[in-house]
Subunit: 408 residues, 2 copies
């Protein structure tokens, strides 16, 4: 195999203690032994970030985001120094890089900064010389010369951005799962690990609750055509590749079933059916920073009124009810009905675009189990339905079988 340039990212559980850090060093050494150029991106040791966050909160409930970043970014710095030492101990040339040293240039949105640029001349030169770059993830340098952080889970984004800047052949994300599955293996014992999946499918899965990768990192990988691999840091076997569509020869129609319990439904009964009513409802919700997901407006059956249903996250339900309750006079609905006992189940697949009947198969499978569909929404590669929460596992299992995803 020819010499490759690889970015390897290890999350908090993979570097939880010094023994794990030594194990990571051995894993990295396998790549350098094979002649590859390697940059490693590390998270804070499991628990360290929580401790740092707890300290900032103990000092003040509301705190300067710049100081929060200054404190919290130290966790990744510790890991990068320790891993550099562990690699050197194995005879692998290595050095740590903090965000400000490279620098990973970000905007000034402290606590949720976005990466603007990563100059890589020096890193590239050293990597070509055989030195492993051990980069502290999750952090960068703002235009104010202060430490920024990319938000929780931002180390995935650090790794993908670095892989893009370094024009790496692959970005391996080591996690505590061994890949992306057709659905949650805790619910469906016959769930299968996928060998490959497209960025688009991964994005839908991530936004629908699969916690494997941070959404922003997948978006960035898609934009820069970074070949991602999700794999286990504890087992030695291939994971799931997240790649461009053209790398996948034959698509299955559906590649995954996801579910999200973090949904709540609100119905406005008998709203006057006139132009501007949707704006009058969703404008105030947007002003209150409440994200609305699925929206269904029934055709009105005469009488000049309509029922309007939409979903928000469970955490936003009370605030959304208050916003709309306060506007009852203006909106003139008959009743405002919340329902938190719902789950959103989705089928995802690139193949949907060229296959008819995918949605129909979903409706039929749910119907055969007597599951009532409350709301439906579709996109190019996804069909989502809202159902009563008690049917969540039954629905996911039925769909997994219906689309032929069960392992042999």
């Amino acid at each position: 195999m020819s010499r490759q340039r690889i970015v390897m990212k290890f999350g908090g559980t993979s570097v939880a203690d010094t023994d794990r850090i030594k194990a990571v060093a051995l894993r990295v050494k396998r790549e350098t032994d094979a002649g590859h150029e390697v940059a490693v991106v590390v998270s804070a040791m499991a628990g360290v970030t929580n401790q740092l966050v707890a300290w900032t909160r103990a000092v003040a409930t509301l705190h300067d985001a710049r100081e929060y970043d200054a404190v919290v970014a130290t966790g990744e710095q510790v890991t990068s120094g320790l891993l550099a030492i562990a690699l050197q101990e194995l005879g692998v040339p290595a050095r740590s890089w903090f965000g400000w040293q490279i620098p990973v240039e970000t905007d000034d949105a402290h606590g949720k900064a976005r990466i603007r640029n990563i100059p890589t001349a020096e890193l590239s030169r050293r990597m070509a010389d055989g030195q492993v770059a051990v980069v502290a993830g999750f952090q960068g340098l703002g235009p104010d010369n202060r430490v920024t952080t990319l938000g929780r889970g931002g180390s995935d984004t650090s790794a993908v951005a670095l892989a893009a800047a370094l024009k790496a052949d692959r970005c391996d994300i080591f996690t505590d799962v061994d890949g992306v599955y057709t659905t949650d293996p805790r619910i469906v014992a016959k769930a299968r690990k996928l060998d490959k999946i497209t960025y688009e499918e991964m994005l839908e899965m991530a936004s629908l609750g699969a916690k494997v990768l941070q959404i922003r990192s997948v978006e960035m990988a898609m934009k820069h055509h970074v070949r991602l691999q999700v794999l286990s840091s504890f087992e030695d076997k291939p994971g799931t590749l997240v790649v461009d569509e053209d790398e996948i020869v034959e698509h299955e129609v559906v590649s995954g079933i996801t579910y999200s319990r973090d949904e709540a439904k609100i119905t406005l009964q008998r709203v006057p059916d006139r132009p501007g009513v949707a704006a009058a409802i969703f404008g105030p919700l947007a002003d209150a920073s409440i994200n609305v997901d699925m929206i269904v407006q029934n055709v009105s059956e005469g009488g000049g009124t309509t029922d309007l249903t939409f979903t928000v996250t469970k955490g936003d339900l009370d605030r959304a009810m208050k916003v709309l309750g306060d506007r009852r006079g203006e909106l003139n609905y008959k009743a405002l009905v919340p329902d938190a006992n719902v789950v959103k189940v989705s089928v995802i697949g690139m193949g949907m675009r060229s296959h008819a009947g995918v949605a129909q198969r979903m409706f039929k499978a749910l119907s055969e189990k007597g599951i009532n569909i409350q709301v439906i929404s579709t996109s190019e590669i996804k069909v989502s339905v809202l159902i009563a929460e008690e049917y969540a596992e039954l629905a996911v299992r039925s769909l997994h079988t219906a689309y032929g995803l069960d392992a042999a």
Copy 2:
């Protein structure tokens, strides 16, 4: 009182947890409320540095000093961010500064770097605007653009160097003791806190075992005429000022009695008394990085041999014995006798220079208690004697009384 510029330094026990950090913020606020410009230098929270050091050791016994610095310096960074938050919470404008941000420019001696320069234009401007600079102590930026540390206890040095660069009116070192005492209060109940002491005396005290201030920080304060104050972070009362000699109107003859148990004595019996013998003995010890402290060579009583006695630290005793044992043939001594059961007791005072009989009073006081003096060495402001370790407390108490230092 006119507006002053003050550097305040808080050590690890003063910032041991978030409650202590809040207490420090209140203490700092008193100075800003009084209209003063303040920079604060902080150590890592007690225990944090030890944890970081333990991690580096768990990964590898021998490790790259640059990576060690990268890991260990994070402790002070955490404290500086937290204290900035605590100050803001009290309505005091503040921001954290890491070594690389100011930058505190050092040489590249990682793990024991020396400060070369601290540009203060930006700090000064902000302090004049009322913003408290919360500086992470113990760290700097090397010429290789990497984090350096100044060695254990280096936060004192950070504070003094910053005070010198900022031309501060005073550098307050907050510790877990409330000042510098005439002697160790654990041994002498009647020990008195000194209001003022000269740099020279403080240096002798520090090098003789008083742990109040790091020696380098005192040297630096002396060189740059920084007025140091050692005071308690837990009690609200004046501490001890360490100042230039001309600030002290009338010197006591002796200002302090110190002792050090970290001494060991080696005697070479009947070494040939010829030119070059001292070089032949101490050259190999210096080559082995063994520091020799007191040296006494007795006048030879005919026969062409002499006895030569010197002291090393207890930690170096075994190595020193081996170095000299290996050279027995060359050095041609009759016997090599180690003795670790010794203590060095010293009386220190600027007034010694203008008062006769200070040493004599010491010898007399010890003699009256039946304490035999093994080795004597003197400097301009100090007389030290080596005695059997069992007499340590008795000697210190006797001398404290003999020089009139006992509190009323």
